[in-house]
Symmetry: D2
Subunit: 367 residues, 4 copies
């Protein structure tokens, strides 16, 4: 899990810049015999694709994925799967004005300081476009889970936009795919639309909280101490652009609970132990319990905004910067399929790790 | 960063169980020529040591660290540094009652399911005792930072216990070492003492939020995408026992901010760019900005409590479980030096990574 | 160094099959600011390209490399460099006859057993075509060495074909590029041409020994025990298709020497210690001495031959197999630039590792 | 596989210096439920122990291994197994004379140059004493193989001492344990005893060739390209002190063979395909065939000899150096159990990798 590679056994290396010729993912460690089709990966990419409604950037990125290796006659071979997406809409003139100045809150200043290279064409490697490669790789992970652990499903949705949270009592899973915010609360979707329209017109942006749930994860996934399932999930989510916080189960709220409140009590069910609550978010001691694995991540507001902000240029001139161009007023929207993809990759990775170190299934029985 | 090893260049492998013969850390990748003394590591271990006041477990763990390798005539040689701490207070009779039942909220059920091994003597590998090894390794990291980046300091403190937060207006760094809670708010320390006494008497426990700040971190540390400084910090903190949430800078609160509010504006100072705020927590695009690196972590309440909780045994019998023995009413207290140690390890690791990939110092100048 | 990735800091992941859409290398960890041009990488690829004379396969592989990421305005940015080579000459009909039978000495049987996938189109991932990606990546490594350690040069040449060794007394470095065998012995080149013509006509193939020398490697490269410079070189060379033996310095012949004979005695020269011989091949204790680093590798004869060999099919039928198609009579010839590429990658990788762990240059002075 | 750690899933980190307090191995990734006893590990250590006859160093190293973690009630728990061996015979006065001068052919010069640290007490980390830790870890690997792949056996023996090779016609496996040279040729054992006595008296030393065979390895072990079984074996063997060459199957001799000679032809046997020869050494395309895995390694002569050799000191003084002390006249003898240990570790590691990536057993059937 270093540099541009993620995972232990299922290893995804993403590559590519926002305005270079192409970007993609080198997926190493996919088991053999998994059905992998470009159309299927395209399905997930299309969900992430911008420009589908007025709430995401109007850049047109067709994001067509091409499978260059590792798949033969529709099945993974066990060798690296190379996924490439050509960049087509490279209007770098939009970025001309920010070629010398640094956007406050954006990575262009730290990339410059670290590397001494200024790819002014829209963020280069730090652009959220990199996440398209993750979504494609996540599609491969989902396909592999479909073979190895067909009961696993991964679903992400937005639970907060700016200061506005959903009402959990209105949670309707079917609603998620029906609104532009991937939210399970239909009323929130309506309110947020108005809120975001107003923000957008004022040249501003806003943050969001995404929740991702993996259902059907068998107990026993996770490795001791530094490859704990929650530690790897935290790393995965925090690696997504603009994410500033990650929570498992109760998350930060766990601090305010007593041990009596926070304990997930256990009774015996027909198929084994059953938990009466899920404060833990499905993970104890870094290992899955068999309950839903629940992760939340906070996405900060887009730093590229139309409101002038004080900044400096490479030569040290002070300036008031406005970022024109086509930017997302709430980049959290497009983070939903990315967070799902990361969850799928981590779960698969730990399934393979567990199978390698321990074997098929859990070793310890209860009851 | 897999299994029991943490880090890319500065790699710490911890080993050992709470009631086995010993535990420790194999520290690989410490640069040569760093002064490393057992007394200096002992200093950090003593801070973490339990039983120093009525708010931490009354187990007596002398936690004396022995340096078995990698140090010659008081200096690191560049070879692995083996740090061993003998376990001495192994009163396993305290755990006899929970040998068959699983503590709700504790890792003993998932360890059993995964490995089919039941080390009933107090948590085994999942015990917080493992963190003593991290603190010792963190001492080596601090010593190396003292040579390679003498301006860096790492400080942790408690900012919330249960529902009670500190008042930032009362923040006094000098206060941190003066109270049993490592909190910079003297008034909070008094209030929390009463609060925790009451909780302890009622047989309950409570969570906490820790903040860790690294000052003097040069700009440019961090590696793209999956070894981002914040991603590695998230993994490091989430790997600490009982941690359920990790925040960088604004953290989860970033979701509620607008882009205008969240932007850290920049002006030129005498020595280069200066930020007018630090919502980012010192990290943009996964790379340090030169500001304070600010991380917060939520620690859940201890699951071993005296209040009966419903649970099951290995044979599937339902039971109401009370965990006797000597447990921390707020395990977050002892997490403070652990979180500091992890911060020190991550900063050093990225300093070495940066030096390897980019060379000494930042490459891009401003002004 | 696992699965399809090689290296610690300079990490090369190759991907692609002989008859898929493309193959390539994902190069992660190249320092920023290195001049990287497609034409320059093409130079090295053209050296490896088959069909240039009658002694290599007559397949036409234009092997045009495209840089898809990580390079901006002619310089590496510090982000992953994606190198892609489209497969164009995919005459899979040539392989129709071996779709069911396994070539003795070829990987197709073990790939089938391991993965249960039969890519009958010419070896798939196990084809020597994969090495084109290594040569391209090696070109990046050479470019980086040109910036970081400009005194380093890497040269490979053939020292044995079948039973025929070169005469070291006739060693002429200028000769290497003048003959189709990359041999420094002009007379050997003539003799081998006749020998190989005869073999080819008889439908047979033969092995070879390659020697690769890195000059100008500074002392101090190499990491203790398991990332020893020689251990990494052995892994790198043994990972090349058809290689069955690797030697450092005296290699296997070291077994027959006495300690008196094998010691490389040392005297002081004007610039520091000078060795009077180089039995060690430039490496002591896994760390470079500053002398030439000398590696030799034995390449077995091509297993795809026109002489019938006894074999079996997937359904267990016994058969006498002849491999038609366009195969190299001495695949060792084309291994020369591949071995050079691996040497360049390993030297660069250890330069970065050393810089990260120890800093610029050696720490211990002599004299 | 970097720095001081070896392996992908079964990861061994050795630590410790020849004259420090202790040395050992941190074994991470041993599956749970493997019977591990100190007495069993001691068995393998005792085989390696010096001073058992006149042909190995007369240093007394009791080499008693202590299991500090990872084993509970005689079984591995799945957590790191810490193996410690205290150093007891630390007669560092023996080394006083070489504290300033560098032994030709020894790592002390390169360690000094790299790290700027001079551990004059007998080689420090570069001492062959480090291999005791490998032998202990190899004992764990053998125990795990005993559970997961009980048909696997690993045997090493000496096939050449100095210029004298064994006669393969006299090969008698039962002889290996009966002579001080671990050779299967009783006559060679007698001849070598005389030869080595003479060498020792003359103050010289000599090299050797070791062969290690793993029997019963199932087909399908090995991972593509850079974690090929042979690549990992080459790295493992070349990481052993004083090894200068590694061969798989025919090894360097493969260069002299034709394709017709080198092909291992295949017929169907009662249980599947059977090979009529084993030039490949049991590995094709980096993946095991099911035949014996055969590796050979050349060990150079001990560099610490009583014959004066020209050298220099740290201050650049030229000197004629004689290494007194207790050194092995043929360090290859003690390399036999070490090479066995490395083979066991690599086979187990690939068994776990295969199980993780592909699942139990091979996927493709023949017949």
């Amino acid at each position: 899990m270093s540099f541009n590679t993620f995972g232990h056994m299922f290893r995804v290396t993403t590559w590519g810049e926002s305005h270079g010729p192409a970007l993609g993912a080198t997926v190493d460690g996919c088991p053999p015999g998994v059905p992998v089709e470009a159309t299927q990966l395209q399905h997930w990419l299309d969900l992430r694709k911008p420009g589908q409604n007025r709430f995401t950037t109007q850049r047109r990125e067709p994001d067509e994925v091409e499978i260059l290796s590792g798949v033969f006659e529709g099945q993974s071979t066990g060798t690296p799967i190379q996924l490439m997406i050509r960049n087509t809409d490279q209007r770098s003139r939009d970025y001309g004005e920010i070629a010398e100045a640094f956007r406050p809150g954006h990575a262009d200043i730290t990339y410059w300081q670290k590397y001494g290279i200024r790819d002014y064409r829209g963020g280069g490697r730090s652009s959220a476009r990199e996440t398209a490669a993750r979504v494609a790789a996540g599609g491969v992970a989902r396909a592999a889970l479909g073979v190895l652990a067909p009961g696993v499903s991964v679903t992400g949705y937005m639970v907060q936009m700016g200061p506005h949270r959903i009402d959990r009592a209105r949670f309707d899973a079917a609603e998620i795919a029906r609104n532009p915010f991937w939210t399970p609360d239909a009323q929130a979707a309506k309110d947020w639309a108005d809120y975001l329209d107003a923000l957008r017109k004022s040249g501003d942006s806003v943050g969001a909280v995404i929740e991702v749930v993996a259902r059907g994860v068998p107990p026993g996934l996770g490795a001791p101490i530094y490859a704990k399932l929650d530690s790897d999930l935290a790393a995965a989510m925090m690696s997504i652009n603009a994410v500033k916080g990650v929570e498992i189960g109760e998350g930060m709220a766990a601090a305010a609970l007593t041990g009596t409140e926070n304990a997930d009590e256990i009774r015996m069910g027909p198929d084994g132990p059953e938990y009466l609550s899920n404060h833990a978010g499905g993970i104890l001691g870094g290992i899955s319990t068999g309950q839903d694995v629940v992760v939340r991540l906070a996405v900060k507001p887009t730093s590229s905004i139309l409101t002038p902000r004080r900044s400096v240029t490479r030569t040290g001139q002070e300036t008031d910067l406005v970022t024109k161009g086509r930017h997302d007023p709430c980049v959290g929207i497009r983070a939903v399929p990315v967070a799902e993809a990361m969850m799928a990759c981590v779960i698969l990775d730990h399934l393979l790790l567990h199978r390698g170190q321990v074997g098929e299934g859990a070793r310890g029985r209860i009851g």
